[in-house]
Amino acid sequence: MSGPSTYDPKTGIEKWLDARLPIIRLAHDSFVSYPTPRNLNYFWTFGAILTFCLVTQIVTGIVLAMHYVPSIDHAFASVQRIERDVPYGWLIQNIHAVGASMFFLAVYIHMFRGLYYGSYKAPREVLWILGCVIYLLMVGTAFLGYTLPWGQMSFWGATVITNILGAVPVVGEPIKQWLMGGFSIDNPTLNRFFSLHYLLPFVIFGVTILHVWALHVSGQNNPAGVDVKSADDTVPFTPYATVKDLFALAVFLLMFAVFVFYMPDALGHADNYIPGNPLVTPPEIVPEWYLLPFYAILRAITFNIGPIDSKLGGVIAMFGAIAVLFVLPWLDTSKVRSMRYRPWAQRFFLVFVVACFALGWCGGQNPAKAVYQAGDYSQVVTYKAADGTEATRTFAAHTPEELAIAVRAWEQDNPGAEGKAAAVVEPFKFTVETFSQLLTAYYFAFFLIILPVLGLRETPRRVPDTIAKAVLDGSKAAAE
């Protein structure tokens, strides 16, 4: 796919080096002459954006590690010192914190793009799996990093997530203790989390190199999903892809900068500005926004499934939601790569994207909260009226708390009327919990049922023979 190298060393030094370490040749073949499908859209710029994000996180992270103190007594204050006293510390800290969110935003767009255009299909299975590995490492790194400021969310997030391990039968508890280096999240945990948070980005970097390598072996997919057949189908990476990537990166940076300079805390959680306290759990523990869908899946399993209790079930579902991505190349049976030519797959994909957003929303809500509630809570109170006859009075309110207040208020106003309250009648409620369960079911059904079956049943639209033709068809369609 990459074809023979077109690098032509001109100067003596270049020739000398090329015979010994053809690094310029490698760079030239990978990022200059590399043939790029000419029909790539802006979704294909996120590879470059992600590389930028990774480098930014590593550079700012190394700087922050110069000032951060990984000790439960000093971590919170040392982060404050970075924001207050270290020259430009506020800037670098904001970039790192906002950068984590930007990284995930970009990776999700990148992943949805791969999903839509069938970038996981042969011959790109390994490329896709390496991407999944990177994503998994990113989740791990983000989780470890979120512990470091030692705020309430840091502490309780770490507590809740390490407790997930406790769900594993038999070995769960010992592994949990081994990971925490104690019986709870404490100083040893913070120290090792810091060490691992420093290590993992370099592992990500290594896997990224493999990811790019795999990409350059199989070549880029493209919106039409057809293979490159001739030189007409491609343009050289430089300048075509480079300039487009740079433009997209600049747009991305604009949004990045808005967060860094004008709303640095918008993506975080207020409770993380309260120093970690093992005695008080925050009223609502939620992960950072980018992990909310998986958190919703974790909480959606509220029932035992045979021998698997609900806790372990939730953990299996959550990890399963990521694990299913690894086997996706073998789940999708369609011969057509790009969903552009698969009308039904398009519809199911759109629902899938909406379901992912909805799961994210659910993950941030109290599970008992009603998405829809038909009417009010009500309660009938029977009491003795002033004339001695028995009377009833019906109270209604939107929540049980408001109902109790209303009943008590009436009792205070009518001290003589000793009432007997009947049971509270609950209205029909469609809760966040039920909603999450439905969405979780769709999430798995999309991968395990819809994609395998649809590939066999669906009649795709006609796929263009070549990329060049796809481009011509596209411009014709636009002209009409």
């Binding site: 802006y42 979704f43 506020w90 999700y108 343009v235 300079f261 207020a270 926004w289 941030g364 109790a404």
Partner: protein, 295 residues
């Protein structure tokens, strides 16, 4: 391409939306704080330094007996963007000149917070306990600008015991640590009610405040009490009403939580302008490169 751009923008907006909407509160919801007009809001907003100075007085005279400012040092008051930042000509100390409050410019340099006379005077009101290296005994000395704000309690246990078991939170980043930020803290400070609404169960020894989660809080209506007792007389003649004191102290606390806001916003504006220019140039370059290429 347009559809794709639109889809991209939509994706970004959708992704950002759940993150930006604050997580809903659990059952027993607190009253939502009303929006206030703040000097520091928006991309160009700056601290009303007179309000920050008044707020410091409120903090010092009312709040500081129970609430600390662990993350701050006295010098912060005189640093760039702080309420007592002062300017003076170069070498003012040797030339016997007096600094004046204000931001640098017009040949006047920011006075080093360590030498700032206002900061020194404020710090000198406090006492620091140190161990005398010669005798090994505790000795006290007046605080210096480089010292941290003196904490009201030597440890958490004493703090709890002094407040009926409730430990008054540190206020260094309180505005960032509460959903609703400055609006919430303002609503909380001014929202105390003598009587809870009918039907709400009374919790003995606590005070009712509808903005507080659960409704009952150990802290008393301090600003209401201070207004009645006339605890504060502002030097600049501002009437020290409950609302005024709340507004001032919240502005002070916002500054305490985010002292680098001025630097952040001014650098931010430069970066935004730069990025807009760069984006425009790159777009032009992109159009040039791809001109005539079918894609």
């Amino acid at each position: 391409m347009k559809t794709i751009l639109r889809a991209l923008a939509l994706t970004a907006a959708l992704l950002a939306a759940p993150a930006l909407t604050p997580a809903a509160h659990a059952a027993g919801e607190a009253k939502h704080p009303e929006k206030q007009a703040w000097s520091f809001q928006g991309p160009f907003g700056q601290y009303d330094q007179a309000a920050v100075r008044r707020g410091f007085v409120v903090y010092k005279q009312i709040c500081s007996s129970c609430h600390g400012l662990k993350m701050l040092s006295y010098r912060n008051l005189g640093e760039a963007g702080g309420p007592f930042q002062a300017v003076a000509p170069k070498n003012w100390q040797l030339r016997g000149e007096e600094p004046v409050l204000g931001a640098p410019g017009h040949g006047k340099e920011l006075v080093n917070a360590i030498d700032n006379p206002w900061v020194k005077a404020i710090a000198a009101n406090y006492e620091v306990t140190e161990v005398d290296p010669n005798t090994g005994e505790d000795v006290t000395r007046p605080a210096r600008p480089s010292d941290k704000f003196i904490y009201p309690y030597p440890n958490e246990g004493i703090g709890r015991a002094a407040n009926g078991g409730a430990y008054p939170p540190d206020l260094s980043v309180i505005v960032k640590a509460r959903h609703g930020g400055a609006d919430y803290v303002y609503a909380f400070l001014t929202g105390f009610k003598d009587e809870p609404p009918k039907g709400v169960e009374v919790v003995e020894g606590k005070n009712y405040n509808p903005y507080f989660r659960g409704g009952w809080v150990a802290m008393a209506n301090q600003l209401g009490i201070a207004e009645e007792a006339g605890v504060i007389t502002y030097e600049d003649g501002t009437q020290a009403t409950k609302q005024q004191m709340a507004k001032d102290v919240v502005t002070f606390l916002q500054w305490a939580a985010d002292p680098k806001m001025a630097q952040r916003k001014s650098l931010g504006m430069q970066v935004m302008i730069y990025l807009l220019v760069l984006t425009a140039l790159l777009y032009a370059a992109y159009k040039q490169v791809w001109r005539g290429q079918k894609h």
